[in-house]
Symmetry: C2
Subunit: 381 residues, 2 copies
C-alpha cells in the first residue's frame, strides 16, 4: 500500500489522480489533500476518500468545512496548509498537481521530508530546477514525471543508460491554433483558445498549448529531469498526440511511448512505478483505426513562445523564472479578457529583455524575481 | 573485448555483422566463421579479419582455401564445420546468420557450449522453439534477437516486467507486392518479388516478405523468444518500416522502437547489449522529413501464409516444422522458376493439411519431419 498526499485534488490532474486511486484502492490510499475554491467537489472527495488532512485555499472555506466533518479529519488552509499536506508524515508520495509557481515551495519541503515526488506542476522545475534537482539528489528522493511527454521519456529510459542518450524528441500537438498563421491569431478569442483538439486539461495549460509555451516549459522541465543540454532536446509537431515523446540513443535507435491520449496513464505510472497496472476503462491503442500519424518540423517564428523558452532555458539562472512568471501573468490577463492572444508572447519577450540575469538564484531571489516580473507585466497592461 | 563466431559470414546479415565488428574493433574480435560458396568474398574476409577458424560449405573449396593461407588459420567444411565454428572455445557469442533450418543443430550445440546466441536464423526457433528455449534455460544462455522486429521488442522490454505485457505488435511493411490484390499475384515474376521496397536482404527472406510468411515466422519466433501465447501477438501493416515493432503493457501504454531501416542497429545491439554504441555512418531518424507513418489492419485472406503460420504456431508440436520446411522447399522452387508465386502458399497449405502432428518432437523427429516435408513438396512440383 502506498500512501498519497495530493496537492490540487479538485483540478484536472487532481481528479484524474483520484480516479486512479479509486480504481486501485488495494494499492493506493489518499491521506492528505489540498484544494482551491471548489468546495462542493471538495465535500465529495472528503466523503469518498476520507483523507486525514485537508487544506483549503481560503480561511472562510476552512471555517465552513471543518464544522461539517467529524474531528478525525484535520483541516487547515493557505500556503502553510499546502506545505502541511506536502510533508504529511504518513504519505510516501506527494502528487503535486497545483498550477503555477505556487507549487515550488511545498515541493522543496516535501523533498526535505524525503517524499517521492510525482510532479505534474511543471512550473516548479522551470522556475527553480537547479534548487529542486540538487535537493532531490541530496535527499535521495525520486522526481517522477506526471506530464505525458516526460512520462513517455521516463518510460523509454527504463533499463537504459542515460549516458547513451543522443537526443530527446518531445512531441507537440500544436494546440488549438496549430492550423492558423500568426496573422490569423490577431483576433482569436479565449473560448477558441480553450478548445484543445486532443487533450482535456485546465485553462492555463490549454492556453499554454495554444501559444506553445507549454512545450517550452516542458523542454526546460526535460532539461532538468533528464539532465541533458538544450542542444539535445528537439520538439516535433505531431498532430495526433499518439506518440507522447521519444528518446534517441547513440546507435540511432529511437524508443517511443505511445497511447490513446489519457493523462491517467502518466499519473498511474508515477504512482505504480516501476510497475504497469491495469488501467480502468483504458482505451487500447488501435493504430490501424487511426491510419496515419503526421510529423512536421516546428516553426519557431510561428510559435514565438517556444523560441523564447529555449532562449531562457539556455541562458539559465533567473531567466526561466522570468519566463514562467511573465507567462503566468500574461495568460491570466488573457483569460480575463484584458489582453489579446498575441500580446502574451509579446509581454513575455519584453520581460525577458528587461531582466538582468542572476546566475545562481536562491529561493528568496527566485521569489523576488517572480514577484517583480508579475508586477512588471501588470504595469504594461 | 567480446569474441565472436559468425555462421553465414558472407550473407546479407553476415557482411553487415562484419561491418559492425570492423567499426568497433576495440570491442569485438571475429574468431571463427562459416561461409557458403562465395569464395572470393571469403578470401577478403579472412585477409581483413584473420579469424582463427574458417568453415566452408564444400570440401573442394576447403582444399583450395587451406593452401592459400598460413597454418595459423584452421580450415574445415560441411555440417561438422558449422558445429565446430558454433562451439569454438574462444568465442563468447555465436552470431547465427545462416539461412534455413540448417541453423538449428549448430545453435543447439552452441547453447550446450554456453555461448550467448545472437540469432538471425529465425527458422531455428520456428522449427524447434521448444528444444532451443528449454536448452537455453537449462544452460543459462541468452538468446538475443537480431531481426529488427524482435530486437525492437527486446529493446522495448528492457527494464520492464514480462508479466505486465498485454500484447506484442509486430509491424510488417507488406513486402514487394503489398499493393497487389491476390488476383494480380497470379503472374508475378521472381525479379518483381525480389524488389523489396524498404529492406535490402537475402533472396529467400525477400520472397518470404512478399508472401508474408516472413512475418508468420517472426510471430512464431516472438512466441518463443518472449514466451507469449499467439493470442497476445498482433501483426500491423506499416508501409514505411520505421516503427520496427511495439509492446503494449497492461496500462495501455505502448512502447515502440523506431529508426531508419538499417539491420546493423539490431545486429550491433545484440553484440553490444545491454549498451547502445555509436553506429558508423548511421542515419538518424527524421520524422519531420518522412512526414507520415501509415498503419493498416492485416488482411489474412490476402496474405494466406500469415494465416497458415498462426494456425501452425497455435497447433504447435511438429506443425511449425512442416510450415518452415514446406516454405523453404516451395520458395526454393519459386526462385528456380519451377512454380508460380501463388503456388508457394498453396503448397505450404497442402503440407500442413497432410501432416499428423507429433506433440513433443525431439531433434530426430524434427529432422525427419523436415526431410519428409521437403520430399512431399518436391513430389507435388
Amino acid at each position: 500500500m502506498k500512501f498519497i498526499s495530493l496537492l490540487g485534488a479538485t483540478g484536472s490532474i487532481g481528479t484524474q489522480t483520484l480516479d486512479v486511486i479509486r480504481n486501485h484502492s488495494d494499492k493506493f490510499r489518499l491521506v492528505a489533500i489540498s484544494v482551491g475554491q471548489n468546495i462542493e467537489l471538495t465535500r465529495k472527495v472528503i466523503s469518498e476518500f476520507k483523507p486525514e488532512l485537508v487544506s483549503v485555499k481560503n480561511q472562510a472555506d476552512y471555517e465552513t468545512l471543518k464544522g461539517e466533518f467529524d474531528s478525525s479529519i484535520k483541516f487547515t488552509f493557505g500556503n502553510e496548509g499546502l506545505v502541511e499536506v506536502a510533508v504529511y508524515d504518513k504519505a510516501d508520495i506527494l502528487v503535486n498537481a497545483v498550477m503555477g509557481s505556487i507549487g515550488l515551495f511545498p515541493t522543496l519541503q516535501a523533498i526535505h521530508a524525503k517524499k517521492t515526488i510525482a510532479l505534474a506542476n511543471k512550473e516548479t522545475l522551470v522556475t527553480a530546477g537547479h534548487l529542486v534537482m540538487s535537493a532531490a539528489k541530496e535527499n535521495g528522493v525520486s522526481i517522477l514525471p506526471v506530464d505525458s511527454e516526460h512520462s513517455a521519456i521516463f518510460q523509454c529510459l527504463q533499463g537504459e543508460n542515460d549516458k547513451e542518450i543522443s537526443r530527446l524528441i518531445i512531441t507537440a500537438s500544436g494546440g488549438s491554433f496549430r492550423d492558423k498563421s500568426r496573422e490569423e491569431l490577431t483576433n482569436v478569442t479565449v473560448d477558441q483558445a480553450l478548445n484543445h483538439p486532443n487533450w482535456s486539461m485546465g485553462a492555463k495549460i490549454t492556453i499554454d498549448s495554444a501559444t506553445m509555451m507549454n512545450k517550452g516549459l516542458e523542454v526546460i522541465e526535460a532539461h532538468w529531469l533528464f539532465n541533458l543540454p538544450f542542444e539535445q532536446i528537439d520538439v516535433l509537431l505531431h498532430r495526433e498526440s499518439i506518440i507522447h515523446s521519444m528518446v534517441e540513443f547513440e546507435d540511432t535507435s529511437v524508443k517511443a511511448q505511445l497511447g490513446t491520449p489519457d493523462m491517467r496513464v502518466a499519473i498511474q505510472y508515477a504512482l505504480s512505478y516501476p510497475k504497469h497496472l491495469a488501467l480502468h476503462d483504458g482505451k487500447r491503442l488501435n493504430l490501424a483505426e487511426i491510419g496515419k500519424l503526421h510529423f512536421q518540423e516546428m516553426d519557431y517564428n510561428r510559435f514565438l513562445c517556444l523560441k523564447l523558452a529555449f532562449q531562457a532555458g539556455k541562458a539559465g539562472g533567473s531567466l526561466p523564472t522570468v519566463l514562467n512568471a511573465a507567462n503566468e501573468a500574461a495568460v491570466s490577463a488573457f483569460l480575463n479578457r484584458k489582453i489579446s492572444f498575441l500580446q502574451i508572447d509579446d509581454l513575455v519577450e519584453k520581460a525577458l529583455e528587461k531582466h538582468e540575469i542572476i546566475k545562481y538564484p536562491d529561493l528568496d531571489a527566485i521569489n523576488l524575481v517572480d514577484q517583480e516580473t508579475r508586477e512588471y507585466i501588470h504595469s504594461l497592461i
